[in-house]
Symmetry: C2
Subunit: 232 residues, 2 copies
């Protein structure tokens, strides 16, 4: 009931009438029917952002890799496995999206070929695995010539966090980047807490360590503000 | 209370006074602080076996890769990530184990080197990943010259299931193999159900599709029988 009350309060909220598309979780890139390459993303940050955006009055679509999280209330969830599936799902209906928030930890590379049957362990001590670069989902969306949504990326780094984030912002033509330091075990991928720096072309705002849920509310507030400034 | 009653009934159960060591779940082989290679094992089969063995009166140690399952009651759980950690944990105290059941889906290969910092995506379209073979945990245990426990392996296959299982049994000098067909989506890795064939040097017993919990009880009963025959 409290949640519904909060939701009602946000009918005139910061993102009322806006459509927000959010990617979350890891992707899994299969080597064969049983093995895959993935990463430690839990999806908690993306799911919390989806909930916060819905509470801020937005119509929310969540495009999610494999995670162990319940679907947030009032959010439309599309489940995907691989980066290619996530890209296709992201572009499907992108012309309806006002904001695109890429919180997923997309695998940079996938195996060149996927074996139809389980690869038998051979006698070789060393095996070479050929990987090919995955499509860059957030850069593809940010580079759209028509119907380009306001585009927010994430940067999970282990060093020089703001430096890497700002170069990523420019290179991928993003509007904003949410940067965090995953080398700190108290925050980040599998933790319930996070601390981030919101980086734009000419500004940076630090949001100190708090729960991902609380941080998501602060982030949605900041993102909405910057979005509205950009459309004025 | 029912569980406790059942447990008491099994004080004189098929494995009373025996020590059973069980591996379960996948292993994760890191590429860098955020990425890893893994597989679709949920750990459900190994956890169900641990529970069934405890119910059959055994003292149970469960050596578990990363899973989303609660620790079974009356079972000592050791958590590990990589195959090398799982091997070390398995050999630690192996002289106390009467039976060793290798239900884990151990990664066959791991990256040759683990990057200390997150690998930055380069401009290369293709990346070669060098992998080195992991230690074979169940074969190492089965090959022990002293204090060798009765050793049961698993074979997850997508074709010619019994054929591959029997050649694995001989090659790794196992006492028994539990073989299952992971190409059937109704059973296997992420499913709650399973169906297996128990393969020994001169016999095979098919256990038809049922819940992993029910199947685990049948398996522990069969394994205990064969174990007692082998020690007569």
């Amino acid at each position: 009931e409290l949640a519904e009350l909060a939701a009602e309060q946000f009918q005139h909220g910061a993102l009322a009438g806006k459509r927000v598309c959010i990617t979350a979780g890891p992707t899994r890139e299969p080597l064969d029917p049983v093995r895959y390459i993935s990463n430690h993303s839990s999806g908690k940050m993306g799911y919390a952002l989806a909930e916060a955006a819905a509470d801020a009055g937005a119509s929310v679509r969540l495009i999610s890799g494999p995670v162990n999280l319940p679907a947030p209330a009032r959010v439309e969830v599309t489940s995907v496995e691989t980066a290619e599936e996530m890209l296709a799902a992201s572009l499907d209906g992108i012309d309806q999206c006002d904001l695109f928030i890429a919180a997923a930890a997309v695998a940079d590379y996938r195996p060149v070929s996927v074996a139809e049957h389980k690869i038998k362990k051979g006698s070789e001590e060393i095996m070479e695995l050929r990987l090919v670069k995955n499509p860059d989902i957030v850069a593809t969306v940010a580079g759209l010539q028509e119907h380009r949504p306001y585009t927010v990326g994430f940067a999970a780094e282990t060093r020089d966090v703001v430096g890497y984030a700002r170069s990523k912002l420019a290179r991928k033509q993003l509007d904003l980047i949410v940067a965090n330091d995953v080398s700190n075990p108290e925050i980040g991928f599998n933790s319930d807490d996070n601390a981030v720096t919101l980086v734009s072309a000419d500004d940076e705002i630090s949001l100190p360590q708090t729960s991902k849920r609380q941080l998501a509310r602060q982030l949605i507030e900041q993102i909405a503000q910057q979005y509205h400034q950009s459309t004025q």
